[in-house]
Subunit: 325 residues, 2 copies
Amino acid sequence: MRVLIFGGAGMIGRKLAERLAREGRIGDRTIESLTLYDIAPASPPAGAAMPVMVETGDLPAPGEAARLLAGKPDVVFHLAAIVSGQAEQEFDLGYRINMDGTRAVLEAARAADNCPRVIFASSLAAFGAPLPDPIGDEHIAAPLTSYGTQKAIGELLVSDYTRKGFVDGLALRLPTICVRPGKPNAAASGFFSAIIREPLAGQEAVLPVSDDVMHWHASPRAAVGFLLHAATLDGERVGPRRAFTLPGVAVTVGGQIEALRKIAGDKVAARIRRAPDPFVQRIIAGWPRRFDTRRALDLGFVAESSFEDIVRVHIEDELGGVMPS
Amino acid sequence: MRVLIFGGAGMIGRKLAERLAREGRIGDRTIESLTLYDIAPASPPAGAAMPVMVETGDLPAPGEAARLLAGKPDVVFHLAAIVSGQAEQEFDLGYRINMDGTRAVLEAARAADNCPRVIFASSLAAFGAPLPDPIGDEHIAAPLTSYGTQKAIGELLVSDYTRKGFVDGLALRLPTICVRPGKPNAAASGFFSAIIREPLAGQEAVLPVSDDVMHWHASPRAAVGFLLHAATLDGERVGPRRAFTLPGVAVTVGGQIEALRKIAGDKVAARIRRAPDPFVQRIIAGWPRRFDTRRALDLGFVAESSFEDIVRVHIEDELGGVMPS
């Protein structure tokens, strides 16, 4: 099978490409070629058994998606996006990449006429307050950001293009990915990862919200697992509603810290400094807490079962399995 | 105030224009000018107190919406659409008019920079089976047609452009309009109007579904009333979720026929011939039955309170108040 990843240079795209290169197959089908597309060149994974093509360009530009889809890939992972904060500040850019770009991918797949599996990374940002607790799969997508609006539109397009038989699409609302590797970033959600990542790296992390804030998490490894599972799923089983929320771990910040303490000890957990920030607290107040993901569970998507597992995945995948002190 | 109607040549657009021309005001504000835009020239209402401009063109064409919005209208009614059946058959045309056209209106309003009230006619087609009964305002928009998808996308855009302060928008999910005046049409929903309209005109009507089929109706007069109410509504009261379902009358086909019999007598009601059509029955089976419209009711939207009222409105507005025999 041929695999194409839009957004191949992003954190999840890279991890997905590495796993595909390592395993050489999705389900029982061998990967003949892997194309990594992004605005900047993706690093091809080392030691891949299959040919890996690295492509760059401006996804919504005329002819661009068609150029990539002309090779009739069997599976298209569409992870490319302008992130939430930037889409809010740069309205036109957000719509251009997140809405027009997604439509361009779907239109190009339609033109290629081989009905590929298209897996669109959607977001919990499709939901907006007021929210029930838990949030079920029948709850309205009423986003409160441009990013969430663009993702909700992408979900609608994926379902309609699928219904028409142009693609065999899935729109997966990924949990917040935790622990994100790398540097702290400016995202309002950054602390969810930082309070685990920085103490494990011997550094202080600032916690801007109270310990009782609950949120919905899955590890980067689980996210890659979701994408791979989606690649092999029988579309008939999914039915016409192609967008749904994926399973995750609902945990409070206090629960996150307790998991860190259990695994890494008091000294590591003590590196979290509480510095309440009313600005971040206000943003977080409108965020979802937890979900009823029975559709995804019935379809066989599997997340971690505890936040301790999420911390362990981080230590294994990012710290070489070495428990720091 | 200046008023612009996209879709001014359609059935609701014409009735809205006639009422605006007759009343000369919306709420307590005098209408200084009325522009009717459509793909074909709208008939300007007779005896209008204000200047009425008739404009034609291709709404999503570059610069077209901007040309219309350059006059900085205070209220924009966006009723222009490719209807459900045609949008299903002509995929590209449906997206071009219903999605790109709506985006063009919102972008042009943003560029005009006067934050007009934009009233977008959405549709119950934003919902798709399986559906709860009744359907509340928090139920997911999971359409099963391209038309419904395009309307759901329009709703999302209206809310986001409103949140950003570019427009002060409302997306109104209108009930099925009944009794539609004019000729019978090929729409699957056509019989809901035909079984009232044709018998009152002395003609036979064919009923393709069973008497227990329930649906959600409002008269053309109520639809115009909704649009006018929306024009004066305080956006602050509406909040960030700018799309909601409007009130209507939930009635079975049997109830429709009973209302017709009560008002027009057995002889008229006997002109309905039952000819079950499995094709139409299958389509209708996935349609919504009734709604919990507490948001719209709280905001002061008023529909008819019985299907008898809907029949009376038809007799008054379309038959000159003359009860046929």
